[in-house]
Symmetry: C3
Subunit: 455 residues, 3 copies
């Protein structure tokens, strides 16, 4: 490791990484910039560097500011554990716990003025550079960013259960190219990842959970991918949010509760949400908003059931059950081959007596829905004090339950010219048959009746 | 690398990693525990460590026992090679081989009493910890676990071809959270990975082949992912097995032969098997057993053909050809958009003269099958002494073959209320049209006939 | 890092990695072979090694030749930036740019005789070994291979925009097993990756762009995967090309322009192209050629629009708009659940006045097309001098546009016995209804008419 472009935060000459890793990494970045000054020295000259964070606890008291391309920050452990479960263990039992905190190569975000002025102020890593070219190939790999605590939101809610602390893990302010976020752990941050104006971004194989919001792609962007992550936001926030992106590929993610939204696309076009496993405690799981058009939503597994864990009982995202698990404002989208399980207690449906809506088209034209399978099951909820036992029990319960009547597809009159095929039986689909094309999923016995009709 | 939490097995003060890496890693873990004793030292205190295994041969004579969170065992090479091909080269030719053994950062499992008492005794890595919280974020990355040899199973079969040796690569006994298995190689183990009670587990981008069984998720679990792996079990075992899991995402895997089972789900609910490439020499490729319900099986490629390699000719998994390539005991599953190629010699069909069954519904209700495409091709098998040449030849042969009559969908009378759409022509589907909903795939010329019928 | 099997190119005793990393790595490989001579020394003996390339600029003046298994070449940064954008910035503005070149762990390919005799001569990494076993588990991880410059192709085109320089990143000449290419960056190479005769190859999570051709799998092969990559070839070349492969899994890739071809399969069978996001400026995006059969093409997002960036205006791949975005010569393929957006200026259609063809079946039999959704939009092109602004603008433009008439499915008379379901309305599908099976996508109002017809 004699290379000058390899840094270890524990051996850097300036600062003490355990006390303030922010000061250390900023000093390293200054060193990189001091050494790599020539934009063209023999067809090179600014290769960047890797900054290594060995496993350990590193308090961050100074925001890290990255304004140089090709910097890779790398640890040796994503270090996630459930702080949410721990903070809901009675304090008297903490002495009996093996460990209380996340671990691995762990950055403890402890900024003095977190979020007083804006979300970027509370960011552990703040990436910004104006001018040309866009900052490129910054990489975050295999370490943990821990926001430590949530704080009171002014309600009666336990402060550690609010998902509020004005802290952000990584905040990218300026247009960027070919960034890579891989193998990371994020926990107890109000915002895990906020990235503006991304091109060819890869967010791959991370663990982003117990954060207020997980992935926010803001501004605009193109040709990026969010793939193969384990993700779960808090009840106020987004698991995956994107705005004004084209050509975004969201696939192979396992998005678990309790985010207010699993995937929210705002003015997103020509993108894919395919092949994800999505689980939520609320309606509005996937929303295509503000003329999100020509997107493909295919072969996803949607599960909506009830919050089973005592500390969050009664929490919701404010949406009622006719809002739609999948809600579309936009045109020419393809909704193909998805499975929907709505597994709720019919007594809890809002508004009372309504049939929950699974797919809802709000506005636009030319959407194509085909081969979506909707399962409605009426269950009695059984809350539990154990977070994962409660969830596993609820997940595995499929027997001794009754069918729940649902509206598989609801097309508002503002949305016309859509095609709905084999995505609900005739009485499960509410829409104008004149203004849209429709073929009902055949009902049991219908083949026999059709044959009789032909005689 | 001055951090105390970075260990290199070749420089540790105790033991000799080449002679017994087990003793060395156990000593390192003892050191971690000795140094990290305080569960809460300044909002941290137990970050764990990384244990590095450089490329090399490391014999394991002592089982490694992991009972501490945030330990990452990392190598620099998955080191797979086909031991199966090598052991079937005549011994007189071995002197001419470039190498005889796998490589990379390679652990040679040589436990003295492997499997005498139970599968956990033969485990190279044994992870167990009771109490709270569950052990979290243990990571296994980029190294090779090699079981070295199989042994006689009492039959006439060559001992190295039995897939039996009572050795396990990694065995996790207790409830766990956010584990990560990435970039690993597993070879010649009776069980590669056996993990009980997993939550948010990631098994990603590994090479797990020539093992008796590859991935076994036992006990119960939720919200895990098995993604982007190359996998192939032995003729007795499972490539991917899961029981009592909910929200499991199995996607983007390339599962090659010769496992008795490609994917076996036992009491698994609300999970996804999507977008995999599956290849097997036997029926029963994917089975949803014991009331596995509300799962999505979509856009997978199923190929079933014959074993072409001489050493395994005549081997099978004991199932006949009407068992189903995909077999479902459960309710409300979605089977959408899969491709099935059944490419076999009609002379070898069991029972003689039967039409092989592709999708079989055994019990349950409310399953939804749509847009599955079944191709049946009758071929003459051509075995070969070269493993990969034989397989490639067989894979690429599509010409000069005849159509094979198949039963695309067979629904037993115990399974009712299902919907079967465009997944087989009328004569390819055997089921009660009264008790299920059905629309046949149109046959060539049928559009013309329908038009005529309307006149 | 005391292990003899861990090498750092910057500290190796022979050569100077900055001046010629080729000489250094060849010297290291010679050392590995000198030390690891015994094919069976205590059930091991040839574990290979890892060769580390820290971030930095490393000129390659000598071709690296790899003929030993289990070698892992690893860097700490894929280092991509857009050289294409930079070379199209007026030279007078270069002084104001933050950096001019790619970075990370960067190999500058500067071979004296690049490509004079054949493509392998211009390869930075040349992997070849005959005899048995096949060379196994060579790994390329997390570094950058930069071809530096393109050169004049004899036309008036700016030399840096030709995608021609006779340089190849990695060239594998002989049969190989279990290779792994992960986390790499490739830029400004005529051929990024050319691999012959691959078995169980993994090309995962790479950034391969601004190369003449990106991935070429040649010879024959099986059971490989190309997953989760960001890919974009030049206007002459292939983004993903495979020939004579079986069981290939191409999934979760984001393939952006401007490749002449996004995915080209030549004699490929029983393989999957699923769940990719594909974007091209030309027809012929995905082609199944030369009897490619029994493949699954599912849940992909196809976008074809116009080149918006000034330097490449007017460039095309020579194909006209009736060629097909997806073109199939082969049998028994499944084309299911894909989204197609054809977003072009009707004034630019070739031949003039034609309806662009989306899916075209050229020859073969038994192909199954179902639930494909085709969107045609007529737009006015708006070129721009800014590469990514132009692309993002074009991607996000969906409003104020008119419908474009397209032929969703065109089946030539040479292709018969196919099944086409719900993939186009009656007037969007051109084929023999006698020789194929057909069900039209219902048109708006058709449900009403059907109901009336039944009365």
């Amino acid at each position: 490791m004699s290379s000058k472009n390899y840094y270890d935060v524990t051996t850097w000459r300036s600062g003490n990484a355990a006390e303030d890793i922010g000061e250390v990494i900023n000093s390293i970045i200054a060193d990189i910039k001091k050494r790599q000054t020539t934009p063209d020295h023999g067809e090179g000259g600014k290769p960047g560097a890797v900054i290594y964070i060995p496993p350990g606890d590193y308090r961050l008291r100074t925001q890290i500011r990255i304004d140089v391309s090709y910097v890779r920050i790398e640890g040796s452990g994503h270090g996630f554990t459930s702080s949410s479960i721990r903070f809901n263990v009675p304090e008297g039992d903490w002495a009996g716990l093996h460990e209380l905190w996340p671990g691995g190569s762990r950055v403890l975000v402890d900024l003095p003025l977190a979020g007083e002025s804006g979300p970027e102020d509370g960011a552990a890593f703040y990436v910004a550079r104006s001018g040309d070219p866009r900052i490129s190939s910054v990489e975050f790999v295999n370490f943990c960013i821990d926001g430590l605590h949530f704080r009171s939101d002014g309600s009666d809610r336990h402060p550690e259960n609010t998902y509020v602390n004005a802290k952000t893990g990584i905040y990218v302010a300026d247009a960027n190219d070919s960034f890579r976020i891989t193998g990371m752990g994020f926990v107890y941050l109000e915002h895990a990842l906020t990235i503006y104006n991304a091109d060819a971004l890869s967010i791959h194989d991370n663990f982003i959970a117990e954060c207020g919001n997980c992935i926010e792609l803001r501004g605009w962007g193109q040709a990026s991918k969010v793939t193969d992550n384990l993700i779960g936001a808090g009840f106020r926030g987004y698991s995956i949010y994107a705005e004004n992106h084209g050509g975004l590929l969201i696939t192979a993610n396992n998005v678990f509760p309790r985010g207010a939204s699993s995937v929210y696309l705002n003015g997103v076009t020509r993108s894919s949400v395919t092949n994800n496993r999505l689980h939520s405690f609320y309606p509005g799981m996937v929303e295509l908003a503000v003329n999100s058009s020509e997107n493909l939503i295919a072969t996803n597994h949607f599960l909506r059931d009830h919050e089973p864990w005592t500390p969050f009982l009664g929490t919701d995202n404010g949406l009622d059950d006719v809002y739609g698990l999948l809600r579309v404002s936009g045109s020419h989208n393809s909704i193909i081959g998805n499975h929907f399980s709505e597994v709720i207690d019919s007594q809890d449906i809002r508004p009372t007596g309504a049939a929950p809506v699974i797919m809802r088209l709000v506005s636009g034209t030319g959407n194509y829905l085909a081969n979506n399978h909707v399962v409605g099951i009426d269950v009695s909820t059984r809350p539990s004090d154990s977070c994962y036992s409660a969830q596993v029990d609820a997940l595995l319960t499929t027997e001794a339950s009754q069918e729940l009547a649902v509206t598989a597809v609801f097309v508002q009159s503002e949305s016309t010219g859509n095609t709905v095929l084999d995505s609900g039986t005739d009485d499960q689909v509410t829409m104008s048959r004149e203004m849209n094309a429709f073929r009902a999923t055949p009902e049991v016995g219908s083949a026999v009746m059709a044959t009789l009709g032909n005689l």
